[in-house]
Symmetry: C2
Subunit: 190 residues, 2 copies
């Protein structure tokens, strides 16, 4: 029965890590504090997460992902709006401060940046691209869409407002979706 | 002749500060190092810039601004493209690493964030908005454009790629301008 016990311990570590992150930010986050709070041995934690950065990011992404809305309404534009809106909503709360700390840490720690990209940024982009791709297939979005750049603009706008401490709310999220999608609609090349 | 001498000293301080920033990043940047390199007394520097953060950011913005292209060709869309392209070009060099350091510092220091907004971000947005506004007046851009969100998307995309360490080059800059401007063109509400 080693597997279930490991899974429970893994869950306890991620939950404890996330609680500490939200309370204190990345500055005072340590594997020792997580071990103490979770009751899981430090050596075990180090075996799974060699650095505190990897543990912090995975715990954050784990909690973060659970809050993003991956809807399947049959209308890919509605689903894309819901995903963008959930990203904005989650980042407007405590997770936003953690995300900003992680982005800051990533500027001096390449490993933090790599994990952020691999575990969070790339999957979010892949899902967003899938939704817009379905819009193209369905003919509601134009076929020559520059998907990569559209996602840079949509997600980049959210990150920028987060990092500059500017309000993230549902009204702005709707305006962002309107603005981004308008450039994606089919129509004559004007 | 106190004024010219002050201006010379101010210039020497900003140049020394920028050179140190480029060489070592914000981590090891200190007013003492700037005083030593510029030959201007520490007390004088502190009188002008009460914190190292304010000095670092102003020196960076001073050098940065000089490299942005504020063209006046009579075609506001061309001018907007040139400004966006120059922003991307400058951030792809050493100034990009400094900008990323400043953005990281801003996550734990509200004063750094305030100065970044006030001295750099707001003026850049104001100039960009002015160019797009002229496009609206001239009828080449649609009148109901959500200018604030268009700029969030355009500039946010640049910041995001910078902070995630992804390539910033002229090809991507052109694709960004194409994508952003396409959503700004007049046309039937589809």
């Amino acid at each position: 029965m080693g597997r279930p016990r490991s899974e429970e311990a893994r869950r306890a570590v991620l939950d404890a890590a996330y609680a500490i992150l939200v309370e204190t930010g990345l500055g005072r986050f340590s594997t020792e504090a997580v071990a103490s709070r979770s009751g899981v041995a430090r050596t075990t934690i180090y075996r799974w997460w060699p650095t505190r950065g990897l543990l912090a990011i995975e715990s954050f992404l784990d909690a973060f992902r659970a809050q993003l809305v991956y809807a399947e309404t049959g209308d890919p534009l509605t689903d894309f709006r819901a995903l963008l809106d959930s990203l904005v909503r989650v980042l407007s709360g405590p997770a936003g401060l953690v995300a900003a700390s992680v982005m800051a840490e990533a500027q001096s720690d390449p490993e933090t940046r790599r994990v952020f990209l691999e575990v969070f940024s790339v999957p979010l982009r892949r899902e967003s691209a899938r939704l817009l791709g379905r819009g193209i297939e369905g003919g509601v979005l134009r076929a020559d869409l520059d998907l990569a750049v559209v996602l840079d603009a949509a997600v980049g706008a959210v990150y920028m407002r987060l990092l500059l401490g500017q309000p993230l709310d549902a009204d702005w999220s709707n305006r962002l979706a309107d603005t981004v999608l308008r450039g994606c609609l089919p129509g004559p090349d004007r």
